[in-house]
Symmetry: C2
Subunit: 343 residues, 2 copies
């Protein structure tokens, strides 16, 4: 039997919604439709905003985090954090390919899903281990990928956990490359994070020798790492939730000029205004953080009369997975950093 | 005494936030800082998403709507709907201009504030009348405009209520003009609304004779009005919350092709996926509705592997007020429609 290409046939409530906006999906993996892929899941990579929220709610405790994840999946049939609205992604082995699908992969291949966990039916049997620092979870589980779902075969030149960490934020580097032009001044808010270092590297590559990349980090700890990577021209240590304070620091560091492009990849709420204030008139703000509030951005820019283009980070772009993996492969320092942190 | 240009000095909680993201602002209008403007408020224009939410919560009852508005302002010091996060704008007479301000207006001038009510300190004394169909409220109130606040003098060639209705959605027409190129296929979701008809007109103007503008409306009632205005090439009647159903209708009407630009100005939640699905690969979606969810848009596009640019509607753009008023002045049918509805 054939299911809907977008997965409508798995939606339990509310009926008629797509699986992502739906509250609950059918995660019964004993039936697999002819245009679905069944995955034997190895690891979940929880979205950073979601993981941070859970950690703040239940504490930095492996067992409690595992319980919370089990509870969410039990309620919703998917790892869709009801507070942040975000998911993450997973890696696993293809267990079965529906007979109506023609895909460039075989049963047994290891893949990463490139669609959010927030729409992926997940039959979560057991959590074996929570890796708090990696925001990854080893599991016994099965998942369903719909016909329109996107996945990537895992590369064989790096550990799974490293590929998973990169692919989780695969949208950010390619979108940065699209936005940044030679000579641009680029501010990366959340430069010390996983997504942040990739964006800094790409921004520097595309802004070129006449451009300036400024990384905003939350704590002194990130300074050394970013400096060693050589991916930023300047670093600001600031609290991105303090819009006015950060704006003043940024102006000071950047000789009183505002940024052409601001890329926000910080995983905390209430940083919209900082992003808007640091951008020049007719400049661009790219919001990649899942903690972004639409109304705070829209009304905030209007509130201070700032004519900027604000873009919603799209986790998908054509060839984004290959682009992100290549970015890490081409730079030895970046590769070593990911190996050290996620290997 | 001078206040902060962004209004930080009026924030009560949480301290350090800007007035828009803040929960509560100081609406004491007995003191006016030297860089503030005091306004004798005549009318509030409640944001459509906010007004719809209040109407749904308390019923289509003038008295109850008035009570709800009074209650919100009492709690927050501003008309900032806690559910939708949105505000609206106001018109009034300039009562006092702080001595440090140099502005192109005088005490006694009638102005409309072009910053959201969600950040405007409002000392609301009395609600005289709620105009349910116009989403406008006659009030006795005083308001404060900060140094960075934007306002427009009211034009003298149209009634106040008409100017207010146009200025409330002033961002939409100019942003549409920026996005649409000759030959584009443009879908306007919520074409029957106030913002929708302006966007349709501008889209048609900029897409030109080789372009196609398709208006999506919720009820048959809007068909005649839109047809008479002559601002759309085709009309679809559909429920924008039903993504798959609307997508199929759109494809049918548009000969199987997707839109280059989708402009979403519908004031209900859960229409993100409809917008994304109806857009071609590398096309653009402009979200103007305050009911838009950031995560639903971001994860929804990723979920179906759709490489589109999604833009957060900015209510402010350089010269947006003059652009919007001119758009209505230049087209007699549009002018008459606004006179009929809001005059």
């Amino acid at each position: 039997m054939r299911g809907d290409p977008f997965g409508l046939h798995r939606v339990i409530e509310p009926k008629g919604k797509l699986p992502q906006p739906a509250w609950k999906v059918d995660n019964d993996t004993s039936k697999v439709y002819d245009n679905e892929i069944l995955i034997d899941v190895i690891k979940l990579n929880i979205d950073a905003a979601s993981f941070t929220q859970i950690k703040n709610e239940v504490g930095k405790d492996e067992k409690k985090i595992a319980e919370k994840i089990m509870q969410i999946v039990k309620e919703r049939g998917k790892m869709h954090n009801p507070v942040t609205g975000s998911g993450g992604m997973l890696i696993g082995k293809i267990k079965k390919i529906g007979k109506d699908l023609k895909i460039d992969a075989n049963e047994g291949d290891k893949i990463a899903t490139l669609v959010s966990l927030s729409l992926t039916p997940l039959n979560l049997k057991k959590i074996a281990k929570v890796h708090i620092d990696k925001e990854q979870v080893d599991v016994e589980a099965e998942a369903i990928l719909f016909e329109t779902g996107v996945f990537a075969k895992l590369p064989d030149d790096m550990p799974e956990s490293v590929a998973l960490a990169i692919l989780d934020v695969a949208g950010a580097p390619i979108q940065t490359a699209r936005l940044v032009s030679p000579g641009d001044t680029v501010l990366i808010i959340g430069a010390g994070g996983k997504s942040g270092v990739l964006c800094c590297y790409v921004a520097k590559k595309y802004a070129g020798p006449t451009g300036t990349v400024i990384g905003l980090v939350h704590s002194e700890r990130s300074i050394q790492e970013l400096t060693e990577l050589g991916v930023v021209d300047k670093i600001i240590v600031a609290d991105a939730q303090d819009a006015v304070g950060t704006y003043e620091k940024f102006l000071k560091v950047n000789d009183g000029k505002l940024a052409d492009v601001v890329i926000n990849v910080v995983n905390v709420p209430d940083t919209e205004m900082t992003s808007v204030m640091c951008t020049r008139e007719r400049g661009k703000v790219y919001f990649f953080s899942m903690a972004t509030s639409f109304t705070k951005a829209a009304l905030g820019a209007e509130g201070i009369g700032k004519d900027v283009d604000m873009i919603i980070g799209n986790g998908y772009a054509t060839d984004h997975a290959e682009f992100a993996l290549e970015i890490v492969r081409e730079n030895e320092k970046l590769y070593n950093l990911f190996m050290k942190k996620y290997g």
